[in-house]
Symmetry: C2
Subunit: 419 residues, 2 copies
């Protein structure tokens, strides 16, 4: 055992990794190992070790905290050509194995690649890159891809509320269902809902927030969604809970919202809207709200304009793109809407995703029976990568509260949110 | 007395207006009166009545809440050519008189003109319009114009703290000095200052916040300012208060900030920076903060990109331009800084300005002796117009909290601000 092996095994982080017989290569060696070194350098030298099919080991200088076993040469070449898409694909297909914690691995990659600030060229290219079209029909296809794969699957791991958005943890040990309820209260308090008011919701998921608003705040809600499965579930739920006179679920696009409301709310839809549609979305908001109007948009975001991780956009969320706060302003500024409050709940989403991932893993066998092993691994990669995105600040979560310009009936301070 | 006069005198708002013998003209009449009608229409028909030197009265259809007496024909023509600049100039020079409440008059004008949303052309022109240059020397001249007119003048009406920025009113009846102290605590809590930490302040006014941070939070502060008068005052103050070992006032531009700090803070400087300098400002912030760094910028803002009211930019704040939140993002996005929190304190600034205006009026005779009648009227117009800007949502006040991207040592919730 040499010095580098000692440091590997004595590292607290690496203790769970099984020992290897050979020392890892730092440089030189086969063509493949040199190319893998190049890849690690381009990634910012994260503390990761690759192990090849023949036992060869390649690591950046830092102590590895995770080991990636590549099972055959074709997989290696595939990863080298397009690591952002092919690495998670290879994991999904069982052509690589991870020793150590998958979340930790992805965090190290995100942290290493985020150390330099994005160059002007990268930022320009990111601005120009566009996800799949979100026309009326494009959005229907994109939403169908993710949300219509079966309500039963989602019931396995989303918890009782079926809320599929960032929860709010007043205490670090708040449980998932309570944190989802706390999020819905937080949203309603920010909107200052009063009994008898009307609310329009754009993108309502399985209907939890609309029900919550009706039950706890006495408002009437029209909730829009283009996912057939979700709307069917929500309609069944509102009937069962006897709130049908207060909540209407509408199977239609947010662009077709009509009527006037006291409040506009959208939790977890903006990621699917596409920046080109922000101005029209603002127009919908403006025409929906009177002079006492106010609203809230809750969305995954970025620190600067950038497209979604390409594998996630390709396999998980076609057409999706979380905006920077500057991009979000294109919803509000053309229509003279005032921003009252922005809160970043990034670490709450990391915690939410950890809870989902735990429940997902606990139900792994059920999911395998419903779909297949590839599906399980793909979704594990998506959920783990999302945890890592939020813990490393690659992803943000913004709650933005806004109001009509001359609405002076707004709270003087935010103390009421914490009373 | 006819119907329109009855409605005028029976209106609660107009009760203080003296009655006129003649009915106001709704249309037609002299060339001047037709042009004034045109001006009222372009302004969105605010409920204002003009009275000319010969007693002729011109009003929009709505019941007037204020009366503007134009004392001679030359003044009228001057106002018609450039109302935004010439109207307040004419008021400063005593060539028009206002009957009724000046703040109310300006509110009505802002509300009427804000009813339509800004056209695409107006927004484009606003984007292109640039205030006076804020190069290193340009900024020195611009700041000198406003802040170096004599510390004694400002002591007359700013209150004991000498804070010349939006205060924070936890209760509606909080007094000015307490509200300024509450603002400084609010800022420090948002920054989560800990004893022994270092803070750099960009634009420190007469030094109140730096002293407050040192005294109440045990931090060391380097505070930058290019106003000679303000720095002289602040240095005298820190020596008198025995905090010289903790606070250093530096007579220099924010662009020359060097060193590393735990926190960056800037309250009321951004208005003078100019949008072209936002990216360089972000660079200063980025290089000043380590990975646990966080910061706060407090600034007047707008709902969409727009230049400052042109008379204010010409006579009061040369080079100034409050940004929209989207424009502010040009400080943060190029440097991968995370926005944690945005709070809009617009109505707090309206209240602060009301308090300043009251104290200013109470000291009117002293100010007249120090300067002249024109100065008193000019500053009354500026303070009253600012109240109206904030009450009508023409102006916003944003406090933006940010942090380095991967700083996870941030509070989970904002409850600590209200504990």
């Amino acid at each position: 055992m040499n010095a580098s092996d000692e440091s590997l095994t004595s590292s607290a982080d690496a203790r769970t990794l099984p020992q290897s017989a050979q020392p890892p290569r730092q440089r030189g060696g086969s063509l493949e190992s040199r190319l893998l070194h190049g890849l690690l350098e381009r990634l910012g030298s994260p503390p990761i070790e690759f192990t090849l099919w023949d036992g060869e080991r390649i690591a950046a200088a830092a102590e590895p905290v995770c080991r990636v076993r590549i099972l055959d040469r074709a997989t290696l070449w595939s990863i080298l050509t397009d690591p952002q898409v092919r690495f998670p694909d290879a994991y999904s297909e069982g052509r690589i194995e991870i020793e150590g914690d998958l979340v930790r691995l992805l965090e190290e990659v995100y942290l290493a690649s985020g150390r330099g600030r994005p160059s002007a060229l990268v930022r320009l290219l990111e601005r120009l890159r566009r996800p799949r079209l979100n026309s009326l029909s494009g959005s229907r296809q994109n939403i169908h891809h993710h949300y219509d794969i079966g309500n039963e699957f989602y019931t396995l791991w989303l918890g009782a509320t079926m809320a599929y958005t960032c929860a709010y943890y007043p205490e670090p040990d708040t449980r998932l269902d309570e944190a989802q309820a706390a999020k819905m209260h937080h949203v309603c308090r920010k909107l200052r809902l009063r009994a008898g008011e009307s609310v329009v919701e754009a993108g309502c998921g399985w209907g939890a927030l609309a029900l919550h608003m009706a039950r706890h705040y006495g408002v009437k809600v029209r909730a829009f969604n283009i996912s057939r499965e979700q709307v069917a579930y929500a309609r069944e739920r509102v009937a069962r809970e006897g709130l049908g006179s207060q909540v209407e679920y509408v199977l239609d696009d947010y662009r077709n919202i009509s009527g006037r409301y006291d409040a506009f709310v959208s939790v977890g839809m903006l990621e699917h809207v596409g920046v080109d549609n922000y101005r029209p979305l603002g127009s919908v908001i403006r025409r929906s709200l009177g002079s006492n109007g106010r609203g809230l948009i809750h969305s995954i975001g970025r620190n600067y304009p950038a497209s979604l991780q390409p594998w996630i956009e390709k396999r998980i969320f076609p057409g999706a793109r979380p905006p920077s706060l500057g991009e979000m302003m294109n919803i509000f500024e053309p229509w003279d809407l005032s921003i009252l409050d922005v809160e970043n709940l990034r670490l709450h989403y990391a915690q939410t995703l950890r809870h989902w991932l735990e429940q997902f893993e606990a139900q792994g066998e059920r999911v395998r029976q419903m779909f297949d092993e590839k599906f399980v691994r793909m979704w594990r990669m998506y959920l783990a990568g999302s945890v890592a995105g939020f813990t490393t600040g690659t992803l943000q979560l913004f709650q933005v509260v806004f109001a009509s310009r001359d609405n002076n009936d707004v709270p003087r301070t935010r103390a009421h949110l914490y009373a």
